[in-house]
Amino acid sequence: MYGGGNTFEGIKTDSVAQEDPILLAAFEAKIERGEKIEPTDWMPALYRKQLIRMIEQHAHSEIIGALPEGTWITRAPGFKRKLSLMAKVQDEVGHAQLLYSAAETLGKTREEMIDDLLNGKSKYSNIFNYPAFTWADSCFISWLVDAGAIVNQLANAKGSYGPYCRALERICAEESFHLKYGHHCVIYLATGTEKQRQMFQEAINRWWAPMMHFFGPSDKISAHTEILMKWKVKMGTNDDMRNQFLDMYVPKIWELGFTIPDSNLKKNVETGRWDYTEPDWEEFKRVINGDGPCNKERIAVRRIAEERGKWVREALKSPSVAYVTPLA
């Protein structure tokens, strides 16, 4: 799961002027024709850098995102939910594996990426810095955060870098099952007891602001991204993605009889777009920069997992490891 919000702040385009103009023109023409760029193709340094940054952040979001939901696997109510949630979170970790591999084709190793996650150099989706207090919070994530991720990822799957697009196609297919699972869970809460309805309403109240932040800062304040749009690294603006999400899911939330904590939220019949209270971008920046409710905990858990697993990774690289016939 991933929102494209924090990828594109502050890029420097100066390096593009130093690229070989003939190679650059051929590269841009290829993208213009709708062809994919492959790992062995020539590419501008900025393109490589931005893609590594984006794919890496996406991969980190998958493994960090597994944490708030993962804590509910052991508490999921009943066999069906337990089995589904296990499969869902396993998918997310599998997405991380696919994405780290896609990013590795651009020249950064998985180990380097994980080091950068732990030392704070690279980010992950901001929404996972918020806590999942109740079962209903985990249902909100499975339905609506995954829905938001699909909006972003479907757009990015039409981008220009082959390995990322192919990974995203597989990821989106799996995410669509997550969405069904999440929606199913929410329908049961919505049509259940008063307590269950209340649990989900409280989850919406807690998660609405992070959900609006999920798509990244408003186009009015977000950084200059024209060249990344031209190179099909970024496929839509943050506001476009947010609007698409609202269009698809606000009616569904209302239909289930829940309220959304924004009295200004309504579809503007003249513009065809949604009006809403401007999200608090200062809070967004503060949380991205490490001061959210769960930033420290998420990274600490990840660091513990890495440290506890270090001997396994080192042992598997040892030259004395017995050769075991591959199983498939």
Binding site: T74, P77, M86, Q90, E314, V321, L327
Partner: protein, 251 residues
């Protein structure tokens, strides 16, 4: 009598699979490398799914609904061996437990695939196919890490020592052993343990690990009759935390 014996067998198998599946799922997001994270999550799904199928079979034999059986009993009502309820510990312990338990489970379901109780034989054939991948996974990792570095070998050796007495508890004698054998429902724990020991000896011989003499090991029994370590009840409390908010609600 035959029915009681069958239910006892099914309960202990289902409880084993559920509790170890739950433990395996605790590795989700915490694995030593992504590939192992995914492997343990995958085995968790298989095991919980297998327990669900056996609880359904028990339901057809007159027991309560699977969700009620799994989420509403307390520790003394569970028949799993103590091996599966122990905390995951470090990866070396989880891997050794995975080897010891799944090797036994594969043989158990192989035996059950020819059970005279046809619904069980049919189900066992399917489960055996899943467990084959679990044992392939355990064997592969044990062979690799059991020959790799001083640390990996020492860790596995230590965990093997800790886990073996508990592993023998898998085969805790059943009061219904003879009835199950007589009615050709199951070949029995004694035969299973013998086959298991041979298999474990073979796998360990491919590594730099050593096995304690079986004769000096003291099996840890009690799980099959509801005597558990202090670790099971907290696991069950966590598992049923949401379910018990309102057991009559649909989630």
């Amino acid at each position: 009598m035959e029915n009681i014996a069958l239910k006892e067998l099914l309960y202990k198998i289902a409880d084993d699979q559920l509790i170890l599946g739950h433990r395996n799922s605790e590795w989700t997001g915490m694995g030593p490398l992504l590939e192992e994270d995914i492997a343990f999550s995958s085995m968790a799904q298989d095991k919980v799914g297998q327990s669900y199928a056996i609880y359904q079979m028990l339901h057809q034999l007159g027991e309560q609904e699977p969700d009620t059986v799994a989420f509403m009993r307390n520790a003394t009502q569970f028949h799993n061996c103590q091996l599966v309820e122990l905390p995951n510990g470090e990866y070396d312990f989880s891997l050794i437990r995975h080897l010891l338990f799944d090797t036994a489970e594969y043989i158990r379901f192989d035996y059950l695939s020819t059970s005279s109780y046809q619904p069980l034989a049919d189900l066992a054939g399917k489960i055996k196919g899943e467990l084959q991948y679990h044992t392939l996974h355990a064997n592969t990792l044990i062979k690799k890490l059991g020959t790799a570095t001083e640390e990996s070998i020492n860790r596995l050796q230590h965990s093997l020592q800790v886990a073996l007495p508990y592993a023998l508890g898998i085969f805790e004698p059943s009061p219904y052993e003879n009835i199950l054998i007589e009615h050709k429902i199951f070949k029995g724990e004694v035969a299973l343990q013998q086959a298991w020991q041979e298999k474990i000896e073979f796998i360990i011989s491919k590594t730099q690990l050593t096995l304690t003499d079986w004769k000096v090991l003291q099996p840890v029994y009690g799980g099959r009759v509801g005597r558990h370590t202090e670790h099971l009840q907290p696991l069950l409390d966590e598992m049923s935390e949401v379910f018990k908010i309102d057991p009559t609600a649909e989630w």
